[in-house]
Symmetry: C2
Subunit: 334 residues, 2 copies
């Protein structure tokens, strides 16, 4: 059903760069849905909306608060802090390269970036707006947003749907190409050092690529069970199974502990790890993945090699300009 993009075919012939065609560099552009083609006007509007704390009830939380584009696209916390100091149970996924996710949210409940953008704004523990009608009403009173929506979508176009479309269009530009791995895949053998090649080879041998392959290392499948092999010791320490993942949405027993396979792109920058952010370091995360998913006890040296390889998946972050948010002269919402 899914075409398996075999990193392994590269590695069984390791060193022969001419054979790496099966491995894929990260694309530099992301495909957009037919009903939301990416335009410069939408991206500019989306960047403002994404960074605007006035999309939250208290005026303190923007998309960027938890998915910080100045960092690795999230907040480096176990769980994020929403309005009034509230926290949830899951760790914010990175926004960088989210355009290459097949589904969004840890439990995959959103099929697109547009769908995802509709969630946090009215979530009471995230951005806390009472309704999208309230969001739209607020935006309507800001002259700069009226003008920016007109440019992006035409006259009188401020709506829930267009707000989500603009944010999604901006997010599709958040791509980090040209990692050491990408350069290696494109033929520069010197881009990875010996340890990183060793780590890559080991990752393939172990079977990590069964779930983490393709250009974003998040396929070929969409969902996977995590943890596969656990026991009382691990559960007492990390509480991975407490949150049922996809089953929290579908209420089906077969979906228990199924999770969207997260990208490994920039994984070195997104500690702490896993859906509940319970693991502080990448070393520990790799060790746990070996044990819990593959039933392998990795040595410290093997872990270090794989971590070295994972660091080679850190891409180049595009230089962004800082948006100036449209003002509300003489008044405030808060």
């Amino acid at each position: 059903m899914f075409k398996i993009r075999l990193l392994i075919s590269m590695l069984t012939l390791a060193g022969a760069v001419s054979t790496v065609s099966a491995a894929e560099a990260l694309p530099t552009t992301a495909p957009a849905p037919a009903d939301n083609p990416t335009t410069a006007e939408k991206v500019a509007l989306g960047q403002m909306l994404y960074h605007d704390p006035r999309l939250s009830s208290t005026g303190t939380v923007s998309c960027a608060s938890c998915h910080n584009t100045m960092l690795g696209g999230e907040d480096n916390r176990p769980n994020s802090v929403g309005v009034n100091g509230q926290t949830g149970g899951r760790s914010a996924p990175t926004v960088w390269n989210a355009a290459f996710n097949q589904v969004q949210f840890w439990d995959g409940r959103a099929a697109s970036l547009e769908d995802q953008a509709l969630g946090p704004v009215t979530n009471p523990i995230e951005m806390g707006m009472k309704s999208w009608d309230d969001v739209v009403a607020r935006l309507e009173t800001i002259a700069g947003y009226r003008a920016a929506f007109t440019k992006a979508f035409g006259k009188d176009s401020i709506s829930k749907e267009n707000t989500a479309k603009a944010i999604a269009a901006y997010e599709r530009t958040l791509i980090t190409p040209n990692s050491a791995y990408d350069r290696y895949v494109k033929g520069d053998e010197s881009a990875l050092n010996e340890q990183q090649v060793r780590g890559m080879t080991k990752a393939v041998e172990l079977g990590c690529t069964g779930c983490h392959s393709g250009p974003a290392f998040n396929g070929p499948g969409v969902f996977q069970k995590f943890p596969v092999n656990s026991n009382g010791y691990f559960e007492a320490k990390y509480h991975f199974k407490k949150d049922k993942g996809l089953a929290e949405v579908t209420k089906k027993a077969e979906d228990e502990n199924l999770w969207k396979v997260p990208t490994l792109r920039n994984v070195a920058l997104t500690a702490p790890y896993f859906h509940n952010g319970s693991v502080k370091t990448l070393d520990e995360a790799v060790k746990l993945m070996g044990k819990l998913q593959l039933n392998q006890d990795l040595t410290d040296a093997e872990v270090a090699d794989i971590v070295a390889f994972l660091n080679a998946l850190t891409g180049e972050f595009p230089q962004q300009s800082m948006p100036t948010l449209p003002p509300t002269p003489g008044r405030t919402f808060n």
Copy 2:
């Protein structure tokens, strides 16, 4: 003692642009102290530190959280939200043009931007770091900061003092020149419309410029009593006197309700108003200033004229690039 920069001398001869030499446009650069000359390296480092939430205990609050450079340099809230959802009693002053303040904080307890920068990071209700030693220790572990401090201050230079110096150097670049008022002062009579000229004239006639004159409209004095004329009605409504201002620092009766005169630059963008953020609109703020400071009952038309003039003090916000914050690969502080 202070040279009074007489906007009034312009206005008694209103319309004659050749006479406006006494009124001053906002400078495009700010003077730096002898021991902290502004350099591009310090500014770049300072911009990163200013926007880095890892300078807070929870990793959620940066200087920019409350002094948002994408907005009017603050958060448009009555009071700001620090770590763990805590709030204080004062409203965040704008960082834009703070370089032209004679003292910093509402109570003027910091003599320089450098002194000011030392406060919030270890304030338990703001950024909540236990000590500056902890801040320095954290920065020391971030390779990108080690490199950036070396560039700015030389080898092994991460310290409390240099962190403050870098942030202050960055803040000195946050200047908004070329407002309509500045263009008017420079000779473009068409830069202000009739209502704005009327508002400016009225502001001078009333005596607003007794406290709010000079290029940043925050002198010639440093401190002023506020409110001057109050009564039970106003106090019950706004609680202006509850916070004793400078006296909270000095503990002297004569300093009660003395406050730093805030700049009027970009005042239209910094609602809500006054030290406790208790006034939501600029219209109401102007009306209250008339009553409480000058014992004048302004008509709605007079208020509208003055507000129109104050809107002419909104400057041009320089386009900034968004800093990429130096990562901590494979680990986090939170």
